[in-house]
Amino acid sequence: MKKIISLTVNGVTSDLAVEPRRTLLELLRDDLGLTGTKKGCGIGDCGACTVLLDGVATFSCLTLAIQADGCSVETVEGLAKDGKLNRLQQAFVNQGAIQCGFCTPGMLMMATELLRRNPQPSELDIRREISGNLCRCTGYQKIVEAIQVASEETP
């Protein structure tokens, strides 16, 4: 039996009919076509599915869509404005923080949350914050650097 929920995704509010057992990740990817959010494990181990739920970094694979009723969801698709990358995205591009890119959306959302809460994080703050987001390509070095660069540019 589907349930009607109201969800604001990247600033746009819609009413959606969802099965109670559907995850937020499935809703975003399969129903809304927002495939930027990735499924790396489905059980909350890898962080690739990280989105912001009312501003809080959340594993969308472990969140039921109906739990998000009335909430605001931010995904990687919502970061660029008017076709222009935000400074965090730009730093990821410029610093070489992206290789295969599969962890990138989750990494960006986790870092977005960090920089909002702590605009001038230390290297350890950054490493701690993204320690639940696995990356197998970069050794994290350039990801950490990108977040540092973006934080230095924080107005």
């Binding site: 790396g40 698709e77 990821f92 290789q99 295969c100 050794g139």
Partner: protein, 789 residues
């Protein structure tokens, strides 16, 4: 100042913006109309005869469109090496590991497909299992395959030079052992396949693969289709590191389901299936005896290794050869003996993984060098410097190194602050739990031969100039799996045609575009780079010849630079050509002006004169290698080398190891993209550190993986990883495009031994079993204390 405009810079990756905005599409992001979902039935037991498979209940389930087993799939054997085709699409006689594929289902959605899978009833007659690679060859053990007597899938016996002579020349001889565990590649994107047929009998498969070419061949062969009817497209791929280099049951089963239903079918592994399918790092059991003279020069290496490869051959034949051959460098070693046994056991099959076959061998050899240096009272880096090969030398197993920055790489890490500090302590173990270790590595820059016997070009590239003028499209079958090969191709093309990166479009990873053997053996920059350069130069030649003909000047007096066609022989009047271009573009804004003819005009005029301008390039290595059996594996047009130091801190009470800093120096010949070279080095450090300290597939007594997830199979997180310093050494490889060679795999070689040597420096104990967990280290430290007291 660099002679290049685009090459040797930190140009951002061409796919980075799409990946940073979520626009990049990976296979599981794709949808097709009427698409079905596939699921696979895996064996729950490690070794059993299949008595009966009853799919009737699954077939009756509403929403199920097809159920396929060996009845539909047939039993055409396939695999990686043609000499060892030991797999079939689905098991037919036996299952050989927990996870072996028995059947597949296509249904309207995943829930239905999974329910159908659960309704397939298989009657097994369970058989005894063999799970220990060391015991697999023993008499009386359960046999996995009739074709592999005593479970030996392959064996290699090499003897170069004369080790007995080497032994006699030795001042010091020591024997050491090292055992590793099966590793998982743990790429972030689980395998995914989408297959579709059309009304002309064409099959298209989108797959998260490293090697569209080999997948195309295997699909055609195992499914009995003409090769030209099979097209494999690689969308964005979320990492591969080796296991995605071979065709998998996921690809074969999904294509079979699409053929059977006539509808598109998508099948995506969950994380547990990634572990079950594996095809990742073998388990190695190494024993090495190495001799040196009094001055530290190497005299011989006697090497024996058992590779536990799980249930099927996969890439194991290449692996067993690499295990032996890549110890031929980077040191002068005249006498080398190698006895390798690649055995099968009732565990998921192992294949290729970054540093293919050679990583643990390298680890033990580099540990031995440190132990020898200690016994000789030498600095371990000085010992290595005494032995390193130079460019122009050939190894005892006939590998020719045409460029070799090994000495420079070693000196770079030796001259670092950290190593100087260690030397000031005179090689004594410190009491504060801090340690530092060094090691080197050696790796191919592209396999010298294809996996199947053929004279095929290893890659072709087609560069087509826009008929409308202005840009070019580079078409290549090369597989960008995250390592950045598309960016390398774009940079080479932009450099040669004098264009900006934005005016070069790279389309790649599609078997219909060109031949390219794929992203494995660290081959793409060297091989596809060559073909790409040739294609760009061919297109350039055609443009310049055309314009030169029109202007009545020799083509060699013209060049393409910074988006313009320039005359090298004084000013030329381009006004007639400009006039023609402007006449064609009445009503357009942003029209070219200025004294020089733009590339946009030149390429358009060239099209008007000649029709489509298409440049082509190709690459095939020259014949390489010696005449002994297995000489082909390990050959390469060039070899990369690297040195590294790791600094660790060990809690002497708990055995907890913290890697505090890694500094690596890698000779990549020439860094086409500086950022990407560093990225490969840093990623290698992470994968090696995981293998050294935490990663291990753990099996229970029935052969089931007990940690088939990314929480219990631990890979390093951002908190585990230290600061990583990457030093690039450029030795200008004569066989590489612009002097470039590999970095993707070679950079992992020194990681494990540098950490192992650092742990010894910190604690005074050696652990001969990976990973070095706190438990193993505490036990060893305790044993040492007990011995002392």
């Amino acid at each position: 100042m660099s002679k290049y405009r685009i090459l040797n810079t930190r140009a951002p990756r061409v796919d980075a913006v799409d990946k940073a905005t979520g626009k990049a599409l990976y296979t599981d992001d794709l949808k097709r109309p009427t698409m079905l979902t596939g699921a696979i039935l895996h064996s729950p037991v490690a070794h059993a005869r299949i008595l009966n498979i009853d799919t009737s209940r699954a077939e009756r389930l509403p929403g199920v469109k097809a159920v396929v087993t060996n009845r539909e799939a047939g039993t055409t054997p396939y695999g990686v090496s043609p000499a060892r085709y030991d797999e079939t699409i689905f098991c037919h006689d036996k299952v050989r590991y927990v996870g072996d594929e028995i059947a597949a289902v296509a249904a309207v959605d995943l829930d239905t497909a999974l329910e159908a899978v659960s309704l397939i009833k298989v009657d097994f007659e369970e058989l005894p299992t063999i799970l220990d690679g060391r015991a697999a060859m023993d008499e009386g053990q359960p046999q996995l395959h009739e074709i592999y007597k005593n479970n030996i899938c392959a064996e290699v016996h090499w003897h170069f030079g004369d080790i007995e002579e080497g032994r006699q020349d030795s001042f010091l001889v020591r024997t050491d052992r090292l055992t590793s565990k099966m590793q998982d590649a743990a790429f972030m994107e689980p395998q995914s396949v989408l297959a579709e047929t059309d009304s002309h009998g064409n099959l298209t498969a989108w797959s998260s693969t490293q090697a569209p070419h080999y997948v195309q061949r295997t699909l055609a062969m195992a499914l009995g289709l003409p090769l030209h009817k099979v097209r494999v497209i690689k969308p964005a791929v979320g990492g591969g590191f080796g296991p995605k280099a071979s065709c998998s049951t996921a690809e074969l089963a999904t294509c079979l389901l699409a053929l059977k239903t006539g509808q598109p079918v998508k099948l995506t592994f969950d994380r547990e299936q990634v572990f079950l399918h594996s095809r990742a790092r073998h388990q190695f059991f190494h024993t090495m005896t190495t001799g040196v003279k009094r001055d530290g020069r190497l005299t011989f290496l006697e090497h024996r290794c058992i590779l536990d490869g799980g249930a099927y051959a996969s890439f194991g034949i290449a692996a067993i050869y690499y295990t032996g051959s890549l110890l031929g460098g980077p040191y002068r070693l005249k006498n080398m003996k190698y006895d390798g046994y690649r055995v099968v056991t009732n565990k998921p099959a192992c294949g290729a993984q970054r540093g293919h076959g050679a990583v643990i061998a390298r680890a033990l050899f580099e540990v031995q060098l440190d132990r020898i240096a200690e016994e000789l009272g030498m600095d371990p880096i000085e010992l290595r410097l005494k032995n390193v090969m130079e460019a122009g030398e050939t190894t005892c197993n006939e590998l020719f190194v045409s460029s070799f920055g090994m000495r420079e790489a070693l000196q770079a890490v030796r001259d670092s602050t950290a190593w100087k500090k260690k030397r000031s302590l005179g090689g004594k173990t410190r009491s504060d739990g801090k340690g530092i270790g060094a090691a080197c590595g050696f790796f191919v820059s592209g396999a010298g031969y294809p996996i199947y016997r053929s004279r095929t070009y290893h890659c072709t590239v087609i560069t087509k100039v826009d008929e409308v003028g202005g840009g070019v499209t580079v078409s290549s079958g090369a597989a960008d799996i995250g390592q950045g090969s598309d960016t390398v191709l774009a940079m080479i093309t932009a450099e040669e045609l004098g264009l900006s990166l934005d005016d070069v479009r790279v389309v790649s990873g599609d078997s219909s575009l060109s031949v390219d053997l794929g992203a494995y053996s660290s081959r793409t920059t060297l091989m596809t780079g060559h073909a790409c350069r040739e294609a760009a130069l061919d297109a350039k030649r055609q443009i310049l010849e055309s314009i030169a003909g029109t202007l009545g000047v020799p083509p060699e007096t013209l060049d393409l630079r910074d988006g313009q066609l320039v005359s090298l022989a004084g000013e030329i009047d381009f006004s007639e050509l400009r006039k023609e271009y402007l006449q064609e573009h009445k009503g357009f804004t942003d029209l070219p002006d200025g004294p020089q003819l733009t590339f946009r005009e030149a390429s358009r005029i060239a099209f008007l004169e000649r029709g489509a301008i298409v440049g082509t390039g190709k690459y095939r290595p020259p014949p390489l290698g010696g005449s002994f059996k297995g000489a082909a594996v390990g050959t390469s047009p060039a070899f990369g080398c690297s040195a590294q130091i790791a600094e660790v801190s060990v809690d002497l009470e708990t055995g907890q190891i913290t890697v505090e800093h890694i500094t690596g120096a890698h000779d990549c010949g020439f860094a086409i993209n500086v950022t990407q070279v560093e990225g490969q080095m840093q990623g290698s450090m992470m994968m090696g550190m995981g293998e050294a300290l935490m990663e291990q597939i753990i099996y229970d007594k029935k052969g089931r993986i007990v940690n088939a997830n990314l929480a219990e199979y631990k890979i390093p997180t951002a908190l585990d990883m230290p600061h990583l310093d990457a030093i690039i050494v450029e030795s200008n490889e004569p066989h590489g495009p612009y002097g470039a060679k590999e970095v993707g795999e070679g950079a992992i070689m020194p990681v494990i031994p540098s950490i192992l040597n650092a742990i010894y420096d910190a604690t005074g104990v050696r652990i001969d079993e990976l990973p070095v967990t706190p438990e193993r280290l505490v036990e060893a430290m305790q044993a040492k204390r007990d011995k002392r007291s």
